[in-house]
């Protein structure tokens, strides 16, 4: 054997393999844990769904209240932009339309701008949610049926 030559014993080779294997396992474990922790949770669709349901379930919004609350039955006298703002707030731009009654309201003045802005990024991350619900409309005790079309923007 030459002077200064380096010799790797069988046992050293074995240890290199063991350490490499341990690093690979630790790396894999770190990757899995990090992926799980850093995952993105998107609940926009649920927020939109619950916001829309509140409109016809809650008497604070549009649900008719004759002693008891009638879910799904809209009191047309409550169907105003002011009440919509008080009920839902301004966090999520909303546009509502009662098809047969031909009434459209929104909680913000510039809904169209919010809609256009949302449409730009809607393909990457959905922000516009639409819903249609068959509702009854009470107008001074006279009941008719209608479709409530709702659009909610949740960014």
């Amino acid at each position: 054997m030459k002077k200064g030559a380096y010799m790797i014993s069988g046992e050293t080779l074995l240890w290199i393999n063991r350490i490499l294997l341990t690093i690979i396992i630790l790396g894999a474990v770190f990757f899995v844990v990090n992926s799980a922790i850093a995952r993105e949770i998107n609940i926009n669709e649920s927020i939109a769904d619950l916001t829309i349901r509140k409109l016809y379930y809650s008497s604070e919004c549009f649900a008719l209240q004759n002693v008891v609350i009638e879910p799904g039955e809209i009191d047309i006298s409550k169907f105003t932009e002011e009440r919509l703002r008080n009920c839902i707030g301004l966090n999520y731009p909303i546009k509502l339309e009662l098809e047969n009654n031909e009434k459209t309201i929104s909680n913000i003045e510039n809904y169209r701008d919010a809609f256009n802005l949302c449409q730009v990024g809607n393909k990457q991350k959905q922000c516009l949610f639409k819903s249609q619900q068959y509702v009854l409309v009470s107008n001074n005790g006279k009941v008719s049926y209608d479709i409530l079309k709702a659009e909610v923007i949740v960014q």
């Binding site: 474990v29 068959y134 009854l136």
Partner: protein, 192 residues
């Protein structure tokens, strides 16, 4: 020999630590209820799925829809021997809830909606369905048969569509003789 024994001892230590780490990871993951399906494609955003069922509100509203000074449910009870009369009155509100036409099948299949309404009295059952009766044909979509209790799709060559969303609502209400009438509404929405 001594070195060998020491090495094996160290290896045991490594193995135990590695095992402990793996078990900890799995404990953390399971404690957080992260399913295997979520882990499988971790880059995919985990999204909440909208609750598409409305808790029976559509059927409740349908039965409360005013028809000729009574609501639809009472109208059905009063005219239970005249299916055509019931059908005529049910179609109008149902067309608001759920509709389909051949243009929609081609241009906007995700908006397609077919319905089936079953009213079960103690002595008879009335079936009504919506959409085209009995068969829908469309130029470049599958054929949809609506004669049964629910619409069936007959796939054409190269097409194999299914309804994306099937909803079922049911209500039991008493009639004038205090017998229960079971009402079932099925909606079949969106072809994909």
């Amino acid at each position: 020999m001594k070195k060998g024994v020491l090495g094996e001892g160290l290896m045991d230590g490594f193995s135990i630590i590695t095992l402990a780490i793996i078990l900890t990871v799995f404990f953390v993951l399971f404690a957080n209820e992260i399913s295997y399906a979520d882990m499988k494609n971790i880059s995919e955003i985990i999204t909440s799925k909208k609750v598409s069922n409305d808790g029976g509100l559509t059927l409740k509203n349908l039965m409360n829809t005013p028809i000729e000074d009574v609501n639809l449910y009472e109208f059905i009870i009063l005219n239970q021997n005249d299916k055509d009369k019931i059908k005529e009155k049910v179609r109008e509100p149902m067309n608001k809830i759920c509709k389909v036409d051949s243009k929609m099948l081609v241009d906007n299949p995700q908006e397609v909606c077919l319905w089936y309404l079953e009213i079960k009295f103690t002595d008879k059952t009335i079936f009504l369905n919506g959409g085209y009766d009995p068969i829908i044909h469309s130029f470049n979509t599958d054929a949809i048969v609506t004669t049964g209790t629910e619409p069936k799709i007959l796939p054409l060559v190269g097409f194999d569509k299914k309804f994306r969303n099937s909803l079922e609502y049911s209500l039991s209400l008493p009639d004038y003789k205090k017998n229960l009438v079971n009402i079932k509404l099925k909606l079949f929405k969106g072809l994909s």
